[in-house]
Symmetry: C2
Subunit: 150 residues, 2 copies
Amino acid sequence: MSAASRPLPDTAARTLISARGGRVTRTRVAVIEAMQASAQPLSHDELASLLGSAGQDVDRVTLYRTLDWLVEQGIAQRIASGERAWRFELHHDERHRHAHFHCDHCGQILCLESTTPVPPPDLPAGFAIARTEWVLHGACAGCNTEGPRP
Amino acid sequence: MSAASRPLPDTAARTLISARGGRVTRTRVAVIEAMQASAQPLSHDELASLLGSAGQDVDRVTLYRTLDWLVEQGIAQRIASGERAWRFELHHDERHRHAHFHCDHCGQILCLESTTPVPPPDLPAGFAIARTEWVLHGACAGCNTEGPRP
DNA sequence: CTCATACTGCTACAATGTTGCAATAACAAG
DNA sequence: CTTGTTATTGCAACATTGTAGCAGTATGAG
């Protein structure tokens, strides 16, 4: 290949990474770009497929570690979707008050960023909240009108 | 053993089970009673230990199936605690508005039933909510005053 | 260009959950 | 109480999701 001296273009992803003092690798860039392109949080498995079909096969373990690093650096955030696997999305606002909707029929996860902010609950004294997860379960518009799919 | 003709006592657990047309088995009764006795949601693993140390060893698979059945029947409910495994507790109220607190330091899960009810968010039209999960993460009173434990 | 070392990609393993099937036990009927 | 039906159980094998250790590669600094 007649590779240029800079192997990867100077994208937003690149900036995000190097600002944290991390090395700009194909995997990190690809994961960030896949998340940027997705309207929904993605699971490890979905990310692997996305990268794979973009001709970017990534080792399972490397992908896990990349995701860990992104979360650690505050670039991405982890969501317990109500299924077995974590989902990941780029870290938007200040961690609080961001709900997700999980369709129990088609399995889709939707970000509900525009909904009314969740009021912090009254906690017993001495408790400190680091972050909250609010997941709504039910049927999305598509599945709701068509009736449940088994 | 000089077993009576009725092998199990007529407990609340027994009533819960037979009201659904299920057979009253040692495992189901033991699981329900363990949950009744616990202030917190229990994981599959914790339940297995509890039953085990009560001299009631249960097969892993049987326990999974028992829990599935209890959830299916609306006797118990499943909680995505933010860790890898599900947790289970007896199904209290009307499914909505029941928050949990997960201490990221000691791993405890606390039920916050007394907090202000969560207002249902504005959803896009056509969406139906079946149930919501609201999990707060942070440090509980004990861990918070003592500082984080690694 | 050279070098230190942050990442990667194996291979193995751990934790959590599921499937299929033969054996057992609940309980309804006689 | 005894018998028969069949819902549950228990076993073994497998599936999914995630981690640990370590040798090799490639990024980025000098």
